[in-house]
Amino acid sequence: MPLTAVNDFVIRFANVNGSGSASANEMFARAIMRMGIPMSPRNVFPSNIQGLPTWYEVRVTEAGHLGARGGTDIMVAMNPQTYNADVAAVEPDGYLIYDSTRAMPPGKPRTDIHLIGIPLTAICNKEYSDPRQRQLFKNIICIGALAALLDMDITELEKLVGEQYRTKEKLIQPNIHALHLGHAYAKANFKCPIGLRLQRSDKVGDRILIEGNAAAALGAVYGGATVCAWYPITPSSSVAENFTKFCGKHRHDPATGEARYAIVQAEDEIASIGMVVGAAWNGARAFTATSGPGISLMQELFGFAYFAEIPSVIIDVQRAGPSTGMPTRTQQCDLINCAYASHGDTKHILLLPEDAAEAFEFTAGAFDYADRLQTPVFVLLDLDIGMNHRLCRPLQWDDARRYDRGKVMTAADLEAGKDFGRYTDVDGDAIPFRTYPGTHPTKGGYFTRGTSHDARARYSEEGVDYVEGMQRLLRKHDTAKGILPRPLRRDADKPTRFGVIYYGSTAPAMHEAAEILTARGHTLDLMRVRAFPFHQDVASFVSDHDFVFVVEQNRDAQLRSLIVNELDIDPVRLVPILHYDGTSITARFISGAISDRLDALKVTPLRKAMS
């Protein structure tokens, strides 16, 4: 029996990079969204395999599960190089769509899946003589055929073609023609639809489809960033590239055309963070975007900015480490390196957005937090959020919102006789006042240094001055806990001894896993942590449960370590659930792993075991 389902399947396109498949695939995904059906696309692009194969996966999910599901129900196998592996990856009773123009590459044929051969090359060659057209339209013909096979509304595809080529009208008709070529072939040669199909729905609502990196870049524009310094690195480059694009549109003086921003592609990450620190010291909102290797290089200046109290924003789009690791694969592996970045006793602010909408909000907010707290703020995205389009609630901005520039003493303040001590805690919140350089001819000047200093920014090697400063920095982190995004707690209907803590891109898979576990009779309370240092609620959540699973995407249970370390919690009570093979974490994995542990834990409840 072939797989049958409505609005609930995973289709994967195996392509050759640069063959024009990306825009065709994206159009396919968007058409599903336009039919009101939630879906979640993901790019898979290894960085080091010859011939540059890429995969594009679309999870169609009426239920709105946007995490990766795992497995492939329909494989569109267009890359001869990966063909055998792709065939092997199809779920039993799933479908394989391939180009039947030439004989299939040798390999063990599968009898447990359904083959749909479409002579794409032949159709193309008959229709087009230009080799470039043949290549490009092949992808469109394929999408047209899929529309018939899956019962997709072809008018949605036609509309998307029209939108895509709004400025190149000559291309609209040929593309629509190509869609219909594929559509007609499939209709004529196969029973349409197949078992897996689409049906118009209303589950998308007003949601938008956007990459986390683009959303973060928009957050930087809305948050008032004027200086961006960066060095290219996957998967973060598109943050700076999008910032450049959005600034080009929204940040030029309408009268003069002059730029209200400066973007430097620096010589390396050390220079990037140096520029950010220099600009922020001088009163501009500045940020850099990087990934793990860049974070490693920036360490010395993170410590400087922490100790000299300079606001700076770092967007870290995490990828699998250590070292070059798996540069095009996702992980949540930089938490500890960012939280305690640099030598000596340091601690930094981390923001942990779950999706593009939060990437926008947290990045815009990061500039307020950095200015308010006068310290580096890390926005931790990862490849899964950053480089994939994801459905999320529309981005929102309150026009009444004002930037919080923090405690800045002005020339008027100084003139009025306000006492200025750069590192003096005047308000009891451990946050001192600063001045922007050049504020006042005789007052407000101070020396910024990474050597130890007293409360008035004077060089001092006196132990008391040093300890006082270091203690104040700790107290400043306590202040931060009340300012940063709070953890979100979602309790089960019934009381339970078990809780789960998770964060970032794990969220959609975790929510789906919770449904699966509930269906299996397991009740769990959930808490999504959104910032470091941890709010008091995190400690309460742990103390409310016997065991708390900490679900994350790294080998060493980094968030768990931070919780144990910062909240002084007995590690036995925090059960690590770890997924770190570089693929996106799935609900199948989480629910399986938690079920197993629950079964084991239920044998000896903690309270009994300890009594």
């Binding site: 524009v221 620190v277 350089p437 020396f447």
Partner: protein, 351 residues
């Protein structure tokens, strides 16, 4: 060591500049460097230059790396904002600061270790970007602060205090700066105040990347007979190409030397550099000639000093970026935030 404030005692007869400030207003804490250190003479020259130019001290941002040289911003322009950054990273910090507020004067102070070793990359890139700044390397050929190791500017064959001979080739930062596109390149000597002060003034008035290599003997570790950066060696091998006068503003220039020996360079802000040529073939507006001359003289064992190259029409990074005239750090929500309507449009395009 603690911060030592000098008593600010203003004698009524102290000379005042156009702003009514005395030299004292450009001084700062007492130096803690070794008595006789060349770096202190450079600090004195900076104080003199800023005083003579009547620069408002608080409009100067003095930024440095790490080293004895990089400590010196504590010892001049006490009313300026100072930033003692990390080793080798002054250029990037200065670049960022400059982007944030184009209206301040940026003075970068570095050492030969700071700029030719750990910070060689940042030195190069800040110059090639044309950051509007005065970049001074206080060059003693050693790591003073870490007690006398060779630096990358130490000449091949020169001997350390411990008797070790340097077998590595030396980096000539002036040659590098010329190649990298700095639009003002000069070399001077900490002991030659008459040459150094006008060069610093001219560099401060220059729009674009101004680089000055100041040979600055380290009394503690590099002032012995085997050193090519010792006081005596530099005095004996100094080859000055020109003598420099600078006029800020366009007042009448009075020259009291033969017209045939004088070249004038007008800069963006109207300042006029008057170069009295000491060397007849020297043309400070020709980058290629400057590079050749430098190499030829180096081969003869001579250290060329003076203003080696200046481009009066130079551009800077802000020009390249076409940034607004208002400093970026003064822009607010109305100029920076596109607002909710624009966001609604963006949202609509993403459905």
């Amino acid at each position: 060591m603690t911060y030592l404030a000098k008593p600010k005692f203003h004698h009524p007869s102290l000379p005042k500049n156009a702003l009514g400030y005395t030299r004292r207003d450009y001084e700062a804490a007492t130096s803690t460097l070794c008595a006789g250190c060349g770096h202190d003479s450079i600090s004195a020259a900076i104080i003199e230059a800023a005083f003579e130019m009547a620069i408002e001290p608080h409009r100067v941002a003095k930024i440095s790396g790490i080293g004895c040289s990089s400590k010196t911003p504590t010892y001049f322009l006490g009313a300026s904002h100072g930033f003692n950054s990390v080793h080798g990273r002054m250029p990037s910090v200065l670049t960022g600061a400059n982007l944030a507020n184009r209206d301040l004067i940026y003075l970068g102070i570095s050492g030969d270790g700071d700029s030719a070793s750990i910070g060689f990359g940042q030195f190069a890139h800040a110059l090639r970007r044309g950051v509007n700044m005065t970049y001074i390397v206080e060059n003693n050929g050693v790591y003073g602060l870490t007690k006398g190791q060779f630096s990358a500017t130490a000449d091949r064959g020169s001997k350390s205090k411990k008797g070790v001979v340097n077998t590595d080739n030396a980096i000539d930062l002036v040659a590098m700066a010329l190649q990298l596109g700095a639009t003002f390149v000069a070399r001077s000597f900490s002991g030659d105040k008459r040459q150094l002060v006008p060069i610093i003034k001219a560099a401060l008035a220059h729009r674009g990347a101004a680089f000055i290599d100041v040979i600055s003997p380290c009394i503690a570790f590099n002032n012995h007979p085997g050193s090519t950066k010792s006081l005596d060696y530099v005095r004996a091998h100094n080859e000055a190409v020109n003598a420099l006068d600078i006029m800020i503003g366009r007042e009448a220039i009075t020259v009291d030397y033969e017209p045939g020996e004088v070249v004038e360079v007008t800069q963006h802000d109207g300042s006029v550099l008057t170069l009295r040529k000491l060397n007849e073939d020297y043309d400070a507006s020709d980058r290629v000639a400057a590079m050749n001359f430098l190499q030829q003289e180096a081969a003869k064992g001579r250290i060329v000093t003076g203003l080696l190259y200046v481009d009066g029409d130079a551009d800077d990074l802000h020009r390249h970026f076409n940034t607004v005239a208002t400093p970026l750090n003064q822009l607010n929500e109305p100029e920076l935030c596109p607002g909710s309507k624009a966001l609604d449009k963006i949202n609509a395009g993403l459905r």
